[in-house]
Symmetry: C2
Subunit: 251 residues, 2 copies
């Protein structure tokens, strides 16, 4: 079993080392991660320039490859053969913030798992609500449990998993829920200021998002102290009812 | 009616000017587009640096704002208030290649419309199969027809439209179909070479994608000479059957 570990926070992020350490209990681990932070960078395919790889070390000294591309580029390179060894499973994270609701199309952590799904390999994105009080232990343990089941059962074509851990020590987690995406209110604000030369600049800022609870959602699961596992599908086609409504529009 | 026009090929791209020209028959148009090409850049939210806007001109001389951020940043800035005027509709394109099947999470053209959907405005992404023989006329006319209906009927929450035009003159198009996402085979190849200094670099290359026909898909519609309108939904949660299967895994 050969497991590729990547993330969107860059190869020196502590969450990456925590994930690699946890996954090494399940098989051989290769870490190939971006050389810089790619948070909220979306699903990237770098086509118009070459990519570079360098031998580096994770924050815990573990050997790793750093890549000049995005998280999804790291996955593409590994699955296209730069490792000279087949990859059986892709696990991305641990992101030090939850990836809930509408976060998923932005999230570098999740888009790495999307790339795995598009290339026909099981992909798991792992995020944790916050790390200040409980670190990465709860999320790492959840990642191992999910990866074990995925290795055993497989995932349907086009499906990836987004795992989120609540802010609780491992022994206080209430269980695991299979969820659907909930909603967050981003509360973004447009900050307009002048630079030192009197020219305006614009900064997308504001407070962090507020989760809006909904039954059966990832948001609700975390609030209630559960690990959330959200199966995502790459087919973003709207439900049939929407298509039927559009067909009625007299084209 | 105030329509925001953006794209992922940059403010000088001819497809952007063609779209702005077509849309100006429906209302007031503002062009706010990236200052460079962002193809296959995914859904970006630029949070860790400021964004700049400059007064520039499109390829046809039309005034425009160029932005240092991604297509989705352009939409966010406009909908958050940099234009000092409410935006009623966001139209992105015209992309000089089709955005079909699995392209949508990568596509800057489509992610601009996603950003509109997340911010509560109707968003339409417009792409054309190729431009060498028929230019942008067929796609531009399709965009106007779709935008008219969307302005009249609205779109359900979380829904955006991806419109693709076939390689046909307008008078040879066979009609319009509401479709679901099909599949493409990307045929990507990993190119490994040494740079002038003997160090390896990696380039994701290969031939263009091959569309795999499927009934009711965007791919099939284009092959059969129809305009394809694919309603997409931001909720990537997998179908209930997948969630039910995962729940049976004995957590």
């Amino acid at each position: 079993m050969h497991i590729l570990i990547t993330n969107d926070d860059g190869v020196r992020a502590p969450g990456l080392a925590a994930l690699a350490e946890a996954m090494s209990t399940l098989g051989d681990v290769t870490v190939l991660a971006p050389d810089r932070n790619w948070s909220a960078s979306g699903h990237v395919k770098t086509m118009h320039k070459p990519l570079r790889l360098h031998q580096v070390a994770c924050s815990d000294g573990r050997p790793a490859l750093s890549c000049s591309g995005a998280p999804s580029d790291c996955v593409a390179l590994a699955l296209m053969g730069v490792l000279d060894r087949e990859v059986d499973l892709v696990v991305s994270g641990i992101n030090p913030h939850a990836n809930l609701g509408q976060d998923v199309t932005y999230s570098g952590t999740v888009t790495a798992a999307m790339e795995a799904a598009l290339l026909g390999k099981p992909g798991i994105a792992v995020s944790t609500e916050q790390t200040e009080t409980v670190g990465y232990a709860t999320a790492a343990q959840a990642a191992v449990a999910v990866a074990k089941k995925v290795m055993n059962k497989g995932l349907p074509e086009g499906v990836l998993l987004s795992v989120n851990a609540p802010t609780l020590p491992t022994d206080q987690v209430r269980g695991t829920r299979i969820t659907r995406l909930g909603r967050r209110d981003y509360r973004d604000q447009l900050i307009v200021r002048d630079d030192p030369y009197g020219r305006p600049y614009y900064w997308i800022g504001g407070e962090g998002p507020v989760a809006l609870p909904g039954e059966g959602t990832d948001v609700e699961a975390l609030e209630e102290g559960f690990i959330s596992i959200t199966p995502l599908h790459m087919d973003m086609s709207a439900p049939r009812s929407v298509a039927a409504e559009l067909r009625s529009w007299d084209w």
